[in-house]
């Protein structure tokens, strides 16, 4: 179809992506560019403390200004769990989603530049019913909100 256009986009996309990531804020502390692009340590953590350490932050404060949007209490299927997080905390720089009982806690980190609303929606996998954390970095400080999501069985079981 449009192979050529795709190739061009692919190349140009690759270059701009790296440049952009180099400029991005929430990177592994002191990491080189290759590591900085994806925070390997943070995605390997099993506890909140480990995650905060990998992100270079301190223990987050509970916040009522973080809300879960379009996030059901029960997921019919753990393979696709809708999750939306919105922050009303001024100067929100980043939003991260963590699932306590997943093999690795950290699901995703979103960096919010000025001009972008501090609200994102995506879908995630959950191995079992668990607490889900919405972690927000705002003006250099960390805040968190918690929600329990149940994962049910479905169908004929086979």
């Amino acid at each position: 179809m449009d192979m050529q256009r795709r190739e061009v986009l692919k190349k140009s996309g690759g270059v701009s992506l790296l440049t952009l990531l180099a400029a991005a804020g929430w990177l592994a502390p002191g990491g080189a560019l290759a590591q900085a692009a994806w925070n390997t340590a943070a995605f390997d953590t099993k506890t909140m403390d480990e995650t905060m350490k990998a992100l270079g932050g301190s223990a987050p404060a509970q916040s009522k200004d973080i809300t879960f949007v379009q996030t059901p209490d029960i997921a019919e299927n753990g393979a696709v769990v809708p999750i939306g997080v919105a922050s009303a905390i001024p100067k929100t720089e980043a939003i991260a989603i963590l699932v306590e009982k997943n093999p690795n806690m950290l699901v995703a980190i979103f960096e919010i530049p000025a001009g972008t609303e501090p609200a994102i929606s995506t879908r995630m996998k959950m191995g079992q019913s668990s607490n889900v954390y919405a972690l927000v970095k705002a003006d250099g400080k960390y805040y968190v909100a918690t929600k329990e999501i149940k994962v049910t069985l479905g169908g004929c079981g086979g």
Binding site: R6, L9, K10, S12, G13, G14, S16, L17, L20, L21, A23, A24, W26, A37, W38, N39, A42, F43, A79, V80, V81, V99, N102, P103, N104, L106, V107, A108, I109, F110, E111, I112, P113, G115, T116, E117, A119, I120, S121, T122, R123, M124, K125, M126
Partner: protein, 103 residues
């Protein structure tokens, strides 16, 4: 090569809503195949969205983002006819960039 993304960008007032669907396995690295061998992790790691060349969102994803990922967010300042570009790279180095015109 990965299939194109589906990007929808719609402006209401001064806010542009971007909704993206990506075609990707998002293999966790936790599953085993029929022979009992672990299927290696294969997932998107980085996502970047730009509007007229300015970054409006970046993300780092682990393998717990669902297969064929969905992402939606809003930014201020888009106008009808402007371009929104979204790029991703995965842990195997595969990458893809697509764009949409704000409607």
């Amino acid at each position: 090569m990965a299939d194109p993304m589906r990007i929808r960008a719609n402006v209401t007032g001064d806010t542009t809503e971007v909704r993206v669907l990506m075609s990707h396995e998002m293999e966790t690295g936790q599953r085993k195949d029929a022979a009992g061998k672990v299927i290696p992790a294969w997932h998107i790691q980085n996502v970047t969205a730009t509007h007229n060349g300015k970054t409006v969102l970046t993300a780092q994803w682990g393998p717990a983002v669902s297969k064929n990922p969905f992402l939606s967010f809003k930014f201020k300042g888009g106008a009808k006819g402007d371009k929104v570009q979204v790029s991703w790279t995965d842990n195997k180095g595969d990458k893809r960039t697509d764009e949409a015109v704000i409607a």
